[in-house]
């Protein structure tokens, strides 16, 4: 019998330890002025690389703070934040009124865009790069399905290669934003559903006849500043003059960032990236988001993201304070 009591005592002790450590994130002690606690972040693939960078820098500044960052799509970020499974949800699309009613409190922290992607082995690559594709053609490929071959897409019937349409299977910001650009919702996008940003990129690179779309951070290789090996963003023919103008050809990440920042790349598919909390952020989470909006902004360009205008940043800051 005493043995059993011992066992119960140990179990209770363990449970107590677990409970106290789990609550660490919210009940951060700030007695000595140093920030402490664990911040769990979950959500959009689009924000994931940026968030890991911010987490690293913030941890270096405040050794008492630890991060647990995971990517699983904007939808998961929203659900986790609202359910309390994460302190911060990364959401790479607009926050809906229904979600706000459920307590979602959001601030825009940086900007990103979705780019249509093909493989560098694409049979109509030369035409795609010299002409670009208009919104109407993307609609024909992704919404109505009327455009079935690469020849139809670029106006050269002699190219009969079929278009293999890929989309995201998981509920996420990139497909929602891409669909919004085409005047629809994610559920209306045609194509084979592939999980996650990296998955979709992999599918398109591997398939010469494939078309997909990716966030800035996946469309371009951050180290070289060039499009990712094996893939290339299709110029979006915004002015619909039938050719890809210099500002529509985005051969380097720096160009893409500039076009998104100056608004020459259409929005959507460009959009603000948000951090969502359940109610107004408090304690260490609030301190972190404030830092992201101030000092943290210096890493935005380096990590390959687009900085919001100072008015937008100010508006975000006011929402957090």
């Amino acid at each position: 019998m005493p043995k059993i009591f011992n066992l119960i005592r140990i179990t209770l002790l363990l449970a107590l330890l677990l409970v106290t450590s789990a609550c660490g994130g919210q009940t951060a002690s700030q007695e000595d002025g140093a920030l402490q606690g664990t911040i769990t972040v979950s959500g959009a693939w689009a924000l994931y690389p940026m968030m890991t960078r911010w987490a690293e820098e913030f941890e270096a500044l405040h050794p008492g703070v630890q991060f647990d960052v995971s990517a699983g799509g904007a939808g998961k970020g929203m659900a986790d934040a609202l359910a309390g499974a994460a302190d911060i949800g990364m959401v790479s699309r607009d926050v809906t009124p229904e979600e706000e009613n459920k307590g979602a409190y959001w601030v825009a922290v940086t900007k990103d865009a979705v780019f249509p992607m093909v493989s560098t082995e694409n049979p109509a690559l030369a035409e795609l790069q010299s002409q670009g594709l208009t919104r109407a053609v993307f609609e024909g490929i992704y919404i109505t399905g009327e455009i079935k071959t690469w020849g139809q897409a670029v106006g050269k019937p002699e190219i009969t290669a079929e278009i293999h349409v890929y989309t995201r299977s998981d509920a996420a910001g990139a497909p929602e934003t891409w669909a919004k650009y085409l005047g629809k919702k994610q559920e209306d996008l045609l194509g084979i559903g592939v999980f996650g940003d990296p998955g979709l990129l992999e599918a398109v690179i591997k398939d010469p006849m494939g078309i997909g779309y990716n966030n800035l951070g996946y469309a371009y290789d951050n180290a070289s500043g060039k499009p990712v090996t094996g893939g290339i963003p299709i110029p979006v023919d915004t002015n619909e003059n039938g050719q890809a103008d210099p500002e529509e050809v985005l051969e380097a990440k720096a160009e893409a960032v500039e076009m998104v920042a100056t608004g020459k790349y259409p929005s959507p598919p460009a959009r603000a990236l948000n951090l969502v909390t359940q109610g107004k952020p408090k304690g260490v989470v609030q301190a972190f988001i404030e830092w992201v909006l101030s000092d943290g902004q210096q890493f935005v360009g380096e990590a390959g993201y687009v900085t919001l205008t100072s008015e937008q940043l100010q508006a975000s800051m006011q929402k957090v304070r």
């Binding site: 229904e98 592939v194 999980f195």
Partner: protein, 309 residues
């Protein structure tokens, strides 16, 4: 003496309560899902939900048929692929293999069971999907595809029922092999010796003496594998194509129920009835697995009853 007796009674009661726990948990999960799924079951007729072909939550269309069909297709094709080689492997290991061979092969088969499903998914994406696209679908889709709808190629990519089933078949193989092997091991040696003594070959011994005795266990192994296949999420979701249309060929993309739940878990908060619909999907999946298990238990009972009679 009284103390010992009381302790015994207590222990008995405790074990009884604990062993009933799985039943309570199953019922609790069912009840919780049913409660949360109620809004959609209340708003739309059940038959319309189960037979509906269109899944457009924003327009309020929640047709589960493509997902149920996808689940069944992927599982059935996976079992068709997995069961024959698994049977042969188990028979070989139990009846033919030398102890040294067994010592080497068994750990590797067990290792297959320990690989995380997301690893299987990545492997499926980089290896199986291109293989289906470039090798299997041209090879089987040609004349075979034109004459038999089951092999028709309408999907130009390798993300398909077949890719999902191949990955699943590899995933469930260790379970089927392990159970079958263990059961064949329990068949008494005297039976084999008697069969061999009357001049039967090794294969005849397996076929007429060992397998009939081991059959209930073999069925149990297949059932265990199928149940796992029905619920497998990540690995399948990564290779199956996720298109909400009921497949008609093994080369069509499919969208099984677990993938539906995993893909859209996040979006359910923003659209009316969506969370209820996803929980209804979970409820349907659970019911499919339950019904399947009940039926196979009944079949098994019947089988054991007959073989003992």
């Amino acid at each position: 003496m009284i103390g010992r007796h009381r302790r015994d009674t207590w222990a008995g009661a405790l074990f009884w309560a604990i062993s009933l726990l799985p039943l309570w948990i199953t019922l609790a999960v069912l009840a919780a899902l049913a409660v949360r799924a109620w809004p959609i079951l209340d708003a739309q007729p059940l038959w319309q939900l189960l037979s509906g072909q269109t899944w457009k939550p924003i327009q309020g269309l929640f047709g589960f048929y493509p997902f149920i069909a996808g689940t069944v297709w992927v599982t059935v094709v996976a079992m068709v692929l997995a069961v024959p080689p698994c049977m042969l492997t188990a028979i070989y290991l139990a009846e033919y293999a030398s102890p040294a061979m067994r010592l080497i092969a068994k750990p590797f088969i067990d290792l297959l069971a320990a690989i995380p499903s997301v690893v299987y998914g990545v492997w499926g994406m980089v290896a199986i999907v291109p293989w289906v696209e470039h090798t299997l679908s041209p090879a089987l889709g040609g004349w075979l595809g034109q004459s038999i709808p089951l092999f028709a190629v309408n999907n130009p990519t390798g993300f398909s029922v077949l890719a999902g089933s191949i990955v699943l078949a590899v995933m469930v193989a260790p379970f089927i092999i392990a159970v079958t092997y263990e059961v064949m091991h329990t068949v008494p040696n005297g039976l084999r010796q008697a069969s061999l003594a009357v001049g039967a070959t090794r294969w005849q011994t397996v076929k007429y003496a060992v397998l009939p005795r081991a059959m209930p266990g073999v069925i149990a192994g297949v059932v265990l594998g199928s149940s796992r296949a029905l619920g497998e999420t990540m690995a399948v979701l990564m290779v199956v194509g996720n298109v909400a249309r009921a497949p008609t060929s093994i080369f069509d993309p499919a969208y099984p129920l677990p993938a539906l739940i995993a893909n859209n878990y996040g979006e359910m908060l923003s659209i009316p009835l969506y969370d209820a619909a996803l929980l209804a999907a979970a409820l349907i999946l659970l019911l499919i697995v339950l019904v399947f298990n009940i039926i196979s238990t009944l079949v098994l009972r019947n089988f054991i009853g007959r073989s003992q009679a």
